[in-house]
């Protein structure tokens, strides 16, 4: 049965489908306050049982903040609403939830919460011993002075926090046989999780096995490790019974790691021909109450990309990650890339308006004509030829004539480093494949089959892609950052070529028959330690109705994907990513009141894109094969970068309003002049 057919017809094996005899169900008691002292805890599993601190593993992991790491269970302080304080367990999930309500008493002394990231910069330090609330503070580029710049534009932009919101929330089953901890988990990286369990719980690598279940979406959420997983493992080891924890949607919105939450304060200098002379800016990331999320890393990462596909000679960016009384920020599809594009592309559109120039004309003027490394460190190939072909292929000028069109483009920075692993096992006529990054809905099985049928000349139907299992593949990185076809694909190509050579060495000549008759095991770590960036563009048309509502009519993507390994993968990535970009721009956001209470703790309030809101998609390919073994370039995050910028511009054209925030408030859209 085809994998998609299996998963959508209820025949998948997701983590909540696992049931074992004697299984215990976990439920958590969480902080109702954004910031409070804990005076007393009575009942449940508490820090007295699990006095451990989290570690930072997976995507955007950072080290060096041990004293600010998230405690597994809160001790004397809570830093956000939803922080796990105690855990309870029972034979059924119903009883466990009952116990969470009735069996634990916690006395809090509420403190004044620090909610707004910009206010946090000047607020009293959140923790004793800190000089400020800055978790990371770095300048990129070099300071400059441009006297008498003919045009200076300053603006401030916000991408509010946004839930990752996969259909399947977080979940884990942990079991212990007296020697070894085995966990079944919905994840992007079994290897990151294994590293996390070992580091946090002080376990030897041989005593931990992490197995991936069918994973119903992740979008960055499931690349890391969470306190709930540690408690599940602890309890399984203590009770020697399997333990299950499944996140509720409310817990997901409150206490999993959301993405975005970034403010960009930009200043752009230009001459009157539209040539950008320089940019300055502050990037302020709302990191949450503890270290170990992606906040420390992402401020610098966003700042690095702020020069975009442009030849900007002067750039000086202050990258700051600040503590706030919210759950730590995490990566959400794009993870810093969409923020950077939003800030610079909105500024370039402002410049176009200021000079009454066509937005693409101004982009052509500033595009690079040769490979370029910007002052902030962004590597760009010659972007002008790409832009010229994009404009032509997308029919930009025809669309602009028809009106309400927005265009945006960007440099995609895939998370190439440090490469990826793959293993091919041939036995009994079938070919099993493991990749170091674990698919969470992208259908890696499709490109795995394409690669192996190309490389080994075998029928795709004998290829069986396998979910992650640390016992089957000794190491690996993860599926995130637009890297799987590039890095996982390249590791697989190399592993296949190695196999081919082995068959050749043994039989003098390679043949698929010889391969399939034998038993072979090929492992490859494809190391890669450089960036490998590529370009993409989006064009969007919209319509605003009488109630101010924006309807997205058409979304055109023009991406440089290198060699397309499998077209179905590409179509799926584009459609889903564009929907998420539209969601971020128009519908989805996590909002907090001044006490740090979440105003959007149900999916109805946090928003989601439904099928009726999805536009017509058109996907155009700019093919120039990469020099990687897989010949592929990055894709997964491209639509989440290009869609918000193109959509924001289309809305500016349609409404006459300046778009500075996502999600865009419907009330603001109704303030357009044409209605009054």
């Amino acid at each position: 049965m085809d994998l998609t057919e299996k998963l959508v017809s209820g025949k998948g094996n997701f983590v909540d489908d696992i049931n074992m005899p004697g299984m215990l169900h976990l439920s958590f008691v969480r902080s109702p306050y954004a910031r409070a002292k804990i005076l007393r805890i009575k009942g449940g599993i508490t820090w007295k049982d699990v006095d451990l601190k989290m570690a930072s593993v997976g995507e955007g992991a950072t080290k060096g903040f041990e004293y600010l790491e998230h405690p597994v269970l809160a001790k004397d302080y809570v830093g956000y609403v939803g922080q796990p304080v105690a855990a309870v367990y029972a034979d059924s999930p119903y009883e466990a939830e009952d116990l969470a309500e009735t069996s634990v008493e916690v006395d809090y002394e509420p403190l004044k919460a620090i909610v707004d990231p910009e206010m946090s910069l000047t607020a009293e330090p959140m923790y004793p011993g800190l000089k400020s609330n800055l978790l990371a503070d770095k300048y990129l580029g070099a300071d400059f002075e441009i006297k008498d710049a003919p045009v200076i534009i300053e603006d401030r932009f916000v991408n509010h926090r946004i839930a990752t919101d996969p259909i399947e929330p977080r979940g884990i089953v942990a079991a212990y046989d007296g020697n070894r901890l085995t966990v079944w988990v919905s994840t992007q990286s079994v290897h990151s999780l294994k590293e996390g369990f070992c580091e946090i719980m002080h376990l030897e690598p041989e005593s931990v096995r992490v197995i991936q279940t069918d994973t119903g979406g992740a979008f960055g959420l499931k690349g890391g490790i969470y306190p709930e997983y540690i408690v599940a493992a602890y309890l399984a080891m203590r009770e020697k019974r399997p333990v299950k924890w499944i996140e509720t949607r409310r817990e997901h919105l409150l206490a999993s790691r959301p993405g975005r939450g970034v403010v960009g304060k930009m200043k752009l200098y230009a001459d009157r021909t539209g040539k950008i002379l320089g940019i300055k800016g502050d990037v302020i990331v709302d990191s949450g109450a503890f270290a170990g999320g992606s906040g420390e890393f992402s401020a610098r990462f966003i700042a690095m990309q702020l020069t975009g596909p442009y030849e900007i000679k002067n750039a000086y960016i202050h990258a700051m990650s600040v503590l706030t009384n919210k759950v730590p920020q995490g990566p959400y599809r794009g993870a810093g890339r969409p923020e950077a594009a939003f800030f610079i592309e909105r500024m370039v559109d402002r410049l176009a308006d200021e000079l009454e120039m066509d937005p693409v004309e101004i982009r052509l003027k500033n595009a690079t004509t040769a490979p370029y490394v910007s002052p902030t460190g962004l590597t760009v190939e010659a972007s002008k030829p790409f832009l010229e072909s994009a404009v032509k292929a997308m029919g930009y000028h025809d669309h602009v004539r028809k009106g309400n069109t927005g265009f945006g483009w960007f440099v995609l920075v895939p998370a190439t480093m440090p490469g990826e692993t793959a293993r091919i096992l041939v036995d009994g006529g079938t070919v099993k494949v493991w990749l170091g990054g674990n698919a969470h809905g992208q259908r890696h099985d499709l490109f795995v089959r394409s690669i192996l049928s190309d490389e080994l000349g075998i029928d795709p139907s004998v290829v069986e892609w396998q979910k992650g299992d640390t016992d089957q593949l000794e190491d690996g990185v993860g599926a995130w950052g637009s890297r799987s076809a590039m890095m996982g694909g390249s590791a697989l190509v190399e592993a296949a070529r190695k196999l081919r050579k082995e068959v050749e060495n043994k039989y003098g000549k390679y043949s698929p028959q010889k391969l399939l008759e034998g038993k072979w095991d090929s492992y490859e770590f494809f190391h890669y330690d450089k960036p490998y960036n590529n370009l993409g563009a989006n064009l969007i048309t919209v319509h605003q109705d009488d109630l101010g509502v924006i309807h997205v009519r058409e979304c055109i993507s023009y991406y440089d994907l290198g060699k397309v390994l499998n077209m179905d993968n590409v179509i799926g990535q584009n459609a889903g990513g564009c929907a998420e970009g539209i969601g971020q721009t128009l519908y989805e956001g996590l909002m907090f009141d001044e006490n740090g209470q979440m105003m959007t703790s149900s999916i109805a309030d946090a928003g989601v894109v439904t099928a009726d809101l999805v536009p017509r998609y058109k996907l155009l390919l700019h093919k120039s094969e990469s020099s990687l073994p897989s010949r592929a370039k990055g894709l997964g995050e491209a639509p989440t970068i290009g869609t918000p910028v193109a959509l924001a511009r289309a809305i500016e054209v349609a409404t006459g309003l300046r778009i500075r925030e996502t999600p865009i408030n419907p009330e603001y859209l109704l303030s357009a002049k044409k209605f009054h």
Partner: protein, 289 residues
């Protein structure tokens, strides 16, 4: 998202259900389609020790053309009413509302009686029934009584239903020829409650409004009848100016509060615009007949 423990009972007739309601008092509640109640239980906003399901009561699920009115059994599924030919023909206002009520999954489980008796000001059917001048048949231990829809809604989640009483039938009077209605609802997305909804039913006589029924959703503690707007339109032509003024009176009848769906001003502006849309649509439908 696991509800606290409850007893589940499924009597086979209404009187048995009423007995159970009386036996367990405040600890009991009627479960119709469960589309509002179960989410409340699962999110542990409330707990109800005894749920008395009407799913096995077979004789209160019907759509019947009566002499002067359409009779709808309280346990009729929203989806069944939505696709009923008589509703499509005689009450397009109801088809409008049902077609926008939550999503198809909810409509396949949710019931008309449940939507009406829950007392949620964001439910769509109450304002439609107010616009249509419907009456509700209520049965309790001491027998049956009828309550006009305008007397039914007292406060948020509070209706004229006394404890131990069950809504059994909705009676929607037929409107004369040259009548038509429309329901216009504004929401952020299918997953969301409405910012505002407005139900307008008009009876015309040579372009003059003979009778108007207008009510609004999500704009106060209960569904609200816009009586001043109804009275204003009576005897008038639907000129652009009159429609605009009627819409102002609909807005004047609203009592919105500021929340995550929008400010008071925003909600009123939306209501103003959809009121104009609904009146025009109702007019078109009345004229076609």
């Amino acid at each position: 998202m696991m509800p606290p423990a409850f007893e589940y009972m499924a009597p086979t007739d209404v009187d048995e259900a009423i007995d159970l309601l009386n036996r367990y008092g405040d600890d009991a509640k009627i479960l119709a389609g469960g589309q509002s109640l179960l989410p409340l239980l699962k999110s542990r906003i409330t707990s109800i020790p005894y749920l008395i399901s009407l799913s096995e009561v077979k004789d209160i699920s019907y759509i019947t053309d009566g002499k002067n009115s359409l009779k709808i059994g309280a346990m009729t599924l929203d989806a069944d009413l939505e696709y009923s030919p008589t509703v499509r023909k005689n009450f397009p206002i109801l088809s409008d509302a049902l077609g926008q009520l939550a999503d198809p999954l909810v409509r396949n489980m949710g019931t008309v009686g449940g939507n009406l008796s829950h007392g949620d000001p964001s439910n769509d059917l109450p304002s439609v029934m107010l616009a249509l001048d419907a009456t509700f048949k209520i049965r309790g231990k001491s027998g049956e009584r009828e309550v006009h829809s305008r007397d039914f809604y007292m406060d948020t989640f509070v209706t004229a239903l006394e404890h131990g009483e069950i809504l059994t039938e909705i009676s929607v009077p037929y409107w004369p020829a040259a009548s038509g209605g429309a329901y216009v609802k504004f929401r952020k997305g299918t997953w969301n409650f409405s910012v505002a909804g407005v139900a307008v039913q008009l009876q015309l006589d040579n372009e003059i409004v003979k009778k108007a029924g207008i009510a609004i959703t999500s704009m106060g503690p209960t569904a609200l009848k816009a009586s001043e707007a109804e009275n204003y339109l009576k005897g008038k032509k639907l000129t652009a100016e009159n429609v605009r003024h009627a819409a102002e009176l609909v807005v004047a009848a609203s009592q919105p509060s500021s929340d995550s769906y929008g400010s008071v001003e925003y909600k009123k502006e939306i209501l103003r615009r959809i009121s104009v849309q609904a009146i025009k649509k109702a007019q078109t439908r009345a004229e076609v007949k």
